[in-house]
């Protein structure tokens, strides 16, 4: 019987923020507090093509959170290399929008209640373009759906990623990276 979903323990984590904390737990998850950026290194490998990232978090101010792929400790912030397609459902309002920029935007984070987010990452360690799909529940208007489909056009192998709350916001929560056995 082959385990289908494997917890990927980061080789290291990096963080910024004056009072920030980030700890790799014994089970491979990462607990973080007051991080202006949080980077996980060594979570994508040649062992698996596809990954799932599950996170819960709150932020010090409402706003977007950015996600950049990362190789050997350096974020890929190539201009316009990430294309983000949003789907937002807010009450009876259903809307979509697309933009190209230097990061994947997996959805917003708000302050008062928890954001729950699952991100599927397809082929980040393959030297091919990467596809990303996020599914988010957040507390805008008490409850919102915010789903994003994104592509990254660089044919580079990435071993990690950074999450970066925009502006001076910092974020607190827990995330786990899983590899899909294949």
């Amino acid at each position: 019987m082959t385990n289908g979903l494997v917890v990927m323990t980061p080789t290291t984590v990096d963080k910024t923020g004056g009072s920030s904390t980030a700890t790799i737990n014994a089970d491979g998850s990462v607990t973080f507090g007051s991080c202006e950026t949080l980077s996980l290194n060594g979570v994508f490998t040649s062992d698996y093509d596809n990954y799932m990232i599950v996170m819960r978090l709150t932020s010090s101010a409402a706003g977007d959170i950015l996600f950049r792929l990362r190789a050997s400790g350096t974020d890929d912030a190539t201009s316009s290399s990430y294309v983000n397609q949003f789907l937002r459902v807010d009450g009876s309002s259903v809307s979509g929008f697309r933009f190209s920029t230097q990061a994947f935007y997996p959805g917003e984070d708000l302050v008062t209640q928890r954001t729950g987010r699952t991100i599927y990452v397809f082929g980040p360690y393959l030297a091919q373009p990467t596809a990303l799909r996020s599914v988010t529940s957040l507390d805008r208007s008490s409850a919102n759906i915010e789903d994003v489909a994104a592509t990254h056009n660089q044919s580079t192998a990435y071993d990690g990623f950074t999450i970066d709350p925009a502006s001076t916001t910092n974020t607190t929560g827990l995330l786990t990276v899983f590899g899909f056995n294949q």
Binding site: T2, G4, N84, R98, F122, V148
Partner: protein
């Protein structure tokens, strides 16, 4: 006592139309330039619900289709209905297909696509539900989700993915959710 909740399953056999398809040592299936790919013996009485990850690239953009399959034969009668939700730029739209002989199965594109799907109860002698989340590179980035039902109360041990246009290259893996 903890148990593995998601089990990677190995097809008993595969069939394909295209250049190649191979079952890996652990059970996933890699394929090259296939227009039809069938996985047999992945659904069983051991699990009710399944997760399928299917990622790669197609030779063109396409809405592929799926059919449930039993003992090597696709279920082709008009018992599938699909509700689609798509978002491209500021256009968000939904469409439902009439009952026909297949269900929509995500979207494929020439750069990279990733489709995550869930099959609910395909081996049970009950109707089956399938839910799919897709990301692909059409128009830069394109969101395409499907919810489909199959109304027959039959037991299926596999499924077939068929390209309506082009041929796909990549990998598919089926996971059973322990019950």
């Amino acid at each position: 006592m903890s148990k593995n909740g998601l089990i990677l399953l190995t097809p008993t056999s595969i069939a394909y139309t295209g250049t190649s398809a191979t079952i890996s040592a652990n059970g996933s299936v890699s394929f090259t330039a296939c227009s039809v790919l069938s996985l047999n013996g992945v659904f069983s009485a051991d699990y009710d619900n399944y997760m399928v990850l299917w990622a790669g690239a197609n030779s063109t953009t396409d809405i592929p289709i799926y059919r449930l399959r039993a003992s090597g034969t696709d279920a082709t009668a008009s018992n599938y209905v699909t509700q689609n939700l798509s978002a491209t730029g500021t256009t968000v739209s939904g469409t439902r297909t009439a009952a026909n002989g297949y269900g929509w199965y995500g979207y494929t594109s020439t750069s990279k696509f990733g489709n995550t799907s869930f099959f609910y109860g395909p081996f049970l002698s009950q109707p089956t539900a399938v839910r799919l989340l897709s990301v692909n590179s059409r128009d830069g980035a394109y969101l395409h989700d499907d919810a489909s039902t199959h109304s027959l109360s039959s037991s299926y041990d596999g499924f077939t993915i068929t390209a309506q246009n082009g041929s796909f290259t990549g990998r598919v893996a089926v996971y059973g959710m322990r019950k």
